[in-house]
């Protein structure tokens, strides 16, 4: 990848002195091998760092549940973990694609429907045979407020990690890329937050987790034109 200071100096020079052939000479002289998989590798590193940040924030501020092993053994938490893992994978793929030129979220973003379909199906199963009152109680679990507050706020640092990678990539749909970075940041945070959140019902997860992601996505979309411009 070209050095930023070289490019800055070049911009200064060519505006004053260089014609296109001279510019090409300078660019060729500075040429070095590049890694075509840089975006994927850098994104993976950013995701691991973001997960580390999320784990530290959850552990130090709100703490992890003590009954996780039992919940896993009983299968109560499988749909929730499945959703947050699937969401993170899909969000990561969308994010990596949005980091390249010419990609538009309105096409690639359809992939977000995959985890939503998964948790929607799980919610459908959970709702079968239950009365509306029971379903309403599970959805309106008081933990929804914490979900909407902690997941987006813990995602601020991860968002800027992902934004830093995008800044060195070449997104041309800045708002779309910012949205994708916000969704990925909140998804990765939810990997850690899911082990704090005491609400395991797929009905709860179907409503509030995607809403938390959406807050992160919209915030990312809002700041993207200023943060991601290259």
């Amino acid at each position: 990848m070209a050095d930023g200071s070289f490019l800055a100096a070049l911009r200064h020079d060519w505006r004053q002195f260089l014609d296109t052939d001279q510019l090409i000479d300078r660019l060729v002289a500075d040429h070095r091998p590049v890694d075509p998989r840089w975006i994927e590798r850098a994104s993976l590193m950013a995701a691991l760092a973001a997960l580390g940040v999320a784990i530290v924030l959850v552990a130090t501020i709100i703490g992890f549940r003590s009954d996780i092993p039992a919940a896993v053994m009983e299968g109560r938490i499988v749909a929730k973990y499945g959703f947050v893992i699937l969401s993170s994978l899909v969000a990561g793929l969308v994010y990596c694609r949005m980091a390249r030129p010419g990609r538009q979220l309105k096409f690639i973003g359809l992939a977000y429907l995959l985890p939503l379909g998964f948790i929607g199906a799980a919610a459908g199963l959970a709702a079968s045979g239950q009365g509306l009152a029971d379903i309403g109680l599970k959805i309106a679990d008081p933990n929804w407020r914490f979900c909407l507050i902690f997941v987006p706020s813990f995602a601020i640092i991860p968002f800027f990690l992902f934004a830093a990678v995008l800044k060195r990539a070449a997104p041309t749909d800045l708002k779309g890329a910012g949205f994708a970075a916000g969704i990925l940041a909140t998804s990765v945070v939810s990997l850690a937050y899911a082990s704090h959140c005491p609400a395991d019902s797929p009905l709860f997860v179907t409503v509030w987790y995607p809403l938390a992601y959406l807050i992160g996505g919209l915030a990312g979309r809002t700041v993207a034109p200023r943060v991601l411009r290259w």
């Binding site: 660019l27 060729v28 070449a170």
Partner: protein, 192 residues
Amino acid sequence: MSTRDPELASIMAAAQAGDAKAYRRLLDGLSVHLKPHIRRLLAGMGSNGAAELDDILQETLIAVHGRLHTYDPTYPVTAWVNAIARYKVVDHFRAVGDNRRKIPIETVESLMSEPEAEQADAARDVQRLLATLPANLRRPIEEVKLRGLSIAEAAHAVGMSQAAVKVGIHRGMKRLIARFGIGAASMAGNNG
């Protein structure tokens, strides 16, 4: 995808691996490819582009240099560089404080079917002629004479009535012939 893409893709692969000769061929090829493309984008934004073309071409080449690692081998090289050029055109107008200009989606889509490099000079000349016309005369000519659409399709594309498209073509060609003589007349004959 341009028919030059398979060739450009192999040059790009060598350039990404660090081959300086391939990199020079890539930049030379892209600069030839980009000129008419950027001119078309500028025309689409209502600019004649004369003052901005070289600046944006060079900004795009610098961006290509700094973002070479973002090229995905499964994607056409021309689509990749066209997207960068489009971004740089929009960024250029944003930088000079002109946020009102938007590149229409039809223009963006047309970027995927770039004219071949061999046609670049002819395309440039046609664009130069057309750039002298107001949009209500230029657009019908572009859609019907250059893109080959029918009157009905062109009317739909430019948001005008069919009668207005016909009148626009007639008046536009008449004005070009009056202004540029035989050159415009032959353009009408060749493309019509």
